[in-house]
Structure formats: C-alpha cells, structure tokens
Amino acid sequence: MAAILKPMPNHPLDQKSGSSPALTVRGLSIFFGTHEVLKKVDIDIAARAVTAIIGPSGCGKSTFLRAINRMHELNPDARMEGEIRLFGDNIYSRDVEAVMVRRRVGMVFQKSNPFPTMSIAENVTVGLRLNGVRDRRILTERTEESLRMAALWDEVKDRLNDPAISLSGGQQQRLCIARALAVQPEVLLMDEPASALDPLATQKIEDLIIELKKDYTIVIVTHNMQQAARSSDATAFFYLGELVEYGPTTKIFTNPAQKRTEDYVTGRFG
C-alpha cells in the first residue's frame, strides 16, 4: 500500500484527521455511447471511513461506484475521461489490468449473489481459490476470519458445507460481504447492499458497515436517507451526473449548502 501521499486538503474529513484519502478522483466523466452519465466529478474519499453516495435514480451514483473498480467497462459502449487514484496508483493507467484493480477494490451488489453451485465455505474462498491459492490452511483460516468480520460466523460455523443458497436473504448478503473481504481488498464498494432486505437484516448490515470501517475504506450507494445518515461519515449528493455537494454527513443532512441537496435529503424530490 502506497504510504507516501500528500494530504488532500479538500477532503472534508481529512481537514480534521489529516490522513490521506484512499481514492482521489479528478475530472471523471463516464459516457455510455454519446450519453454522458458522469460529468467531471472531483472527489476525495477518506481511508477507513464510510462515504455514502446519494441521489435520485439515474443520477450516476452506481456508475460512479462501478468506475472505481472498472466494472463499468463490462458495458462495451462505456468510455471514461479523467483519473482515479487508489492510494496514489492510477487505476486507469495503461499497464494496469482491470483484474488487478478489482483485487484491491471489492464490491457488494444490491442483489445478494452467492454462487449457487458452491457451499458457504466455498463461496467465501472462491476469490482466493480462483486466483490460485491452494493452501488449505490459509483457506480455512481466511474462511473463519472473513465470516467473523462479516458477523456471520456464529450463524454458519456448524454448516459451512451447506449450499450457500440455503441461507436467508440477509445472511446471503453478509456472505457476499465475507466473500469480498476474503481477498483482502483495500476498498469495499457497496451498491445498495440492504435495499432488498427487511429492517432487521438491514440493521445488521449497517452495524457491520460501521464495524468494518475500522479496517476498510467503504463507499456505499444508498437510496435510504436514514441509512446514509446513520452509517456514513461523509456524504456525496449526485444529481444528473454531477457531484452537487460533498461534505461530512452531519452537515449534508442538517445544514446543506445547496438548495438541491436540501430538497433531496428532506424528501421534497427524488
């Protein structure tokens, strides 16, 4: 991990903590065909903190998230401009492969998607195994470690070899988080991770997010204002592909600088 980085003063949290950001995004524009989905976004995302991305549907927040681990490239019409640095490394550099970026930047999706042909344990270790890790001891260790971090260990430790899809929806989503954690990423992206879950399961995911930020940089896209307010440190409001406002979560929700932000967080539109 690149340690020598100059502090980015324009990050709202860094101003007080003085730590360097995990992600520095400069002039990021994403086009799908001729449609400009993201427009010149500049943002710094703090390490070991939770950053929430909010905004109405179609505002580009998911595209922004997917640009961070180059998942948007799965769309053959996608094109990007600008720069994203992950702890100083340009992830769009010519000599960097998307696969390498994705090993450093994990992702959890809206719909939980454990692999149905695999057991609980196999799901956790799949990222390691398919990247060439064969050592059973490491795999076993990492299984427990990841499941503990995802607060799922106590619920599944007696049935690690059961099929993953025998778990409940909330457990499946935590399994997906464990699966992402097992490859030890530096950043964890979450695309509406709790939107398909009931309130109790949502609560567990939120607790988990707060727990995980001790070790991980988390960027979470959410439609749920309360969720953003409860679990994030900084919040970015996107609207029509533009970053409208970015600041500490308390400020965004209590005293936003922009009228559009205020209208959105108070539920007047979006």
Partner: protein, 375 residues
C-alpha cells in the same frame, strides 16, 4: 349486447377451445401409435440372443444385432468426442463474448445448419472423406497383364494385389487409357469405382493435398469402400455441433449476470469466471442439451448410409464400416425375409426405448435444475 349474441360468442369460444385441445392431444397420438405398433410387432423378437449374438446368415432363423447395438454406442461416443467440446465451447463463445456481428452470423449459420436434412450431411461427408479414402491399395506396379486387363500392385508392406482394369478406365490423361500406360515400376494409387456390378480400378494421377492427406491416413486402411466408423462418427458429430452450441448458449444466458459481475469484482479472470462460475452453474442445462443432441443423432439413418454403411460382423478398426441400429432396421426392413422383418421391429423398439430413456433422463435432470446441492 343481446343475449343471443352473447350465447353465440360463448359457443364460438367453447368451439375454439375444444379445437385447440384436440390438436394438442393429437401430438400424443402418434407416439402412442408408434409405441403400440412397435411393442406388438417387435416385443416377441426381443430375447437374450437379440442383444448378444451377431446376425445369422440369410435363411437361418435367429441371431441378434449385438454388433449394431455396440456400433450405435461406438458412433455416439465418437460423435460426442467431436460434437461436445466444439459445441459447448462454441456456445460459450456465443454467450460470453460479445462480437455482435460475428455472433449474429454464427447463430444464423447454426440455425440454418440445424435445419439441413441429415441426408445432406451424409453426402457431404461421403464426398469429403469416404470417396477420397476409398483406396484399397497404393504401391508400385509389379506386373501388367494386358490380355486379362490385370495389374498387380505391391504395397509398402509387401502385399501384392491384382486389379481388373476396365477397357475404358482412364489411367492417365496423357498416356491414354488401358494398362499400357502403367509400366511396371510406376507408383500408383488405386481407387475403385463401380461400373455396373463390376469394381473397376482407377489410378489417381494427381491427388489433391486433401486427398493425399487422407490417403496417408489410409495407409492403415483396410476398407475397400472407404466407408468407415470414423466417417460415421464424424457425420454425427458434425450434426451435434450446432445443436449443442445453441442449447449451450441458451442455458448460459439463463445464468444471472449478477454471478458474472460478482466473480469479476473478486478479481477473477474472465475465462476462469466463465469456466468455474458460469458453466458450472449451467452444467445441468448443458448436459441436458448434450443428451438431447445425442438422442437426436442416435436415431439418424440417412447420414450413416453414406458413411458407416453397415456391417454384419464385429468392427475391429475405426477404419472399417460399422453397423448401427438405425442401419440395421433399414437393411432388415427392406429385405425379403420375415425373420429379419421381425428383428427390424425389435430393433426399432430398442432404439425408441433408448431415445425415450435419454429424454426421461433429461426430464429428471432438469426437474431440479434450480434447486441446490442437498446438505
């Protein structure tokens, strides 16, 4: 709307419903008829000998079709060796790699090929493989007997064989016809063709590269005709490719894209994601497609007439003709012997049972396609 009008509409509705139902039930009728007929005609001829013995010579009652049953399985295995890997990998390409124009053409071609009559396949392989390989002998001319139109040729293994030359046989375009054009010492490749009921030898002067390659292969070839197990397996395998390709593509498309994204987001390389996640998730569907393709080609007769040809004995080499159940049924059915007719019925019954078994197996496999592994 009047009450009368309403009654009329109801009557029309009932009539159309009944009509569609009758048509739907008509689907089942032929199967029941076929099955009933096969059982009444063929069941009595099915016995232990039918499965374990070779055909008896003409006139002798009894015997079996053991070689045809084994032949059918041999051909299916050979066809699968070609059709399954090519078909599955082709389907993976169509489903997982986006080259819209190329994929459109591949799909279109596969669909057209799927509609090509099977006898056409037989002719294609006959022309490409069977005819060029129809070489009993290649070697050096040892002696010539112009009186009896006889040429003796010795092959590299030292075996000599004599061939009758027809007066019209064109040995060499430049040197004219007849045996005079092949003095002893000439290297010749001899091929047969039928002239009336007579087999006539013909030297091939300038074999094409393709033919030459096949002839090299034919050095280990014993068949006078060029018909072979390999050609039979090849034609069935070629027929399987587009079938398996399209079904594989379809079942891979059923795998939710979320699994692909999840795997890629873990930093797994695309080909590993495809092999270990996508194909593994769709395995049952792929196996189903393969089995259906097998069931389809297992009953093919026409392409085998041109390629595997049929054989009343055991086949010991892949370069020899081989028997298959559909061929046996065909050959026995057009024969004038009652006992063979009975055996043809029995063979048809065994064949349809085989195909039904595969289909039922497919149903069982697909029934729990989306349920997980049992704890």
């Amino acid at each position: 709307m009047t009450a009368n009008n309403h009654r009329w509409r109801k009557a029309k509705n009932s009539f159309m419903q009944a009509l569609t139902m009758v048509c739907a039930v008509l689907v089942i009728l032929p199967l029941l008829l076929v099955f009933f007929h096969l059982v009444t005609q063929g069941a009595t001829s099915i016995n232990w000998a039918f499965f374990t013995q070779l055909p008896k010579p003409v006139g002798e009652v009894g015997g079996g079709v053991a070689n045809a049953i084994v032949g059918t399985f041999t051909l299916i295995v050979l066809a699968s060796l070609l059709g399954v890997p090519v078909g599955v990998l082709g389907g993976v390409f169509l489903s997982e790699y986006a080259y819209p124009r190329l994929n459109w053409w591949l799909r279109f071609t596969a669909d057209v090929i799927n509609g090509v009559p099977s006898i056409t396949w037989g002719m294609v392989v006959y022309g490409l493989i069977v005819v060029p390989i129809a070489v009993p002998f290649h070697g050096i001319v040892k002696s010539v007997d112009p009186e009896r139109h006889l040429v003796t040729v010795q092959n590299p293994a030292g075996n000599a064989r004599s061939f009758t030359i027809g007066p019209q046989t064109r040995w060499n375009l430049d040197a004219g016809t007849g045996v005079e054009s092949v003095p002893p010492g000439t290297a010749v490749i001899v091929a047969f063709h039928m002239d009336g009921s007579r087999q006539v030898a013909e030297q091939i002067n300038a074999p094409s590269a393709w033919r030459l390659a096949l002839l090299r292969l034919a050095a280990l070839h014993d068949s006078v005709s060029g018909f072979s197990t390999l050609a039979g397996g090849l034609v069935l395998g070629l027929m399987m490719i587009p079938l398996i390709m399209r079904t594989t593509e379809e079942v891979l498309q059923l795998v939710p894209s979320g699994y692909r994204e999840a795997a890629l987001a873990l930093g797994i390389a695309q080909w590993r994601m495809i092999a270990q996640i996508v194909v593994r998730t769709a395995t049952k569907g792929i196996v189903t497609g393969v089995l259906l393709a097998l069931a389809r080609v297992a009953g093919e007769t026409a392409p085998l007439l041109f390629t595997a040809f049929g054989n009343n004995y055991w086949t010991h080499k892949l370069t020899q003709p081989i028997d298959a159940l559909p061929l046996k049924i065909y050959n026995y059915a057009i024969s004038p012997y009652d006992d063979w007719h009975r055996q043809a019925w029995a063979g048809a019954l065994v064949l349809i049972l085989l195909v039904c078994t595969i289909n039922v197996g497919v149903r069982i496999l697909t029934r729990d396609r989306f349920s997980g592994r049992k704890p």
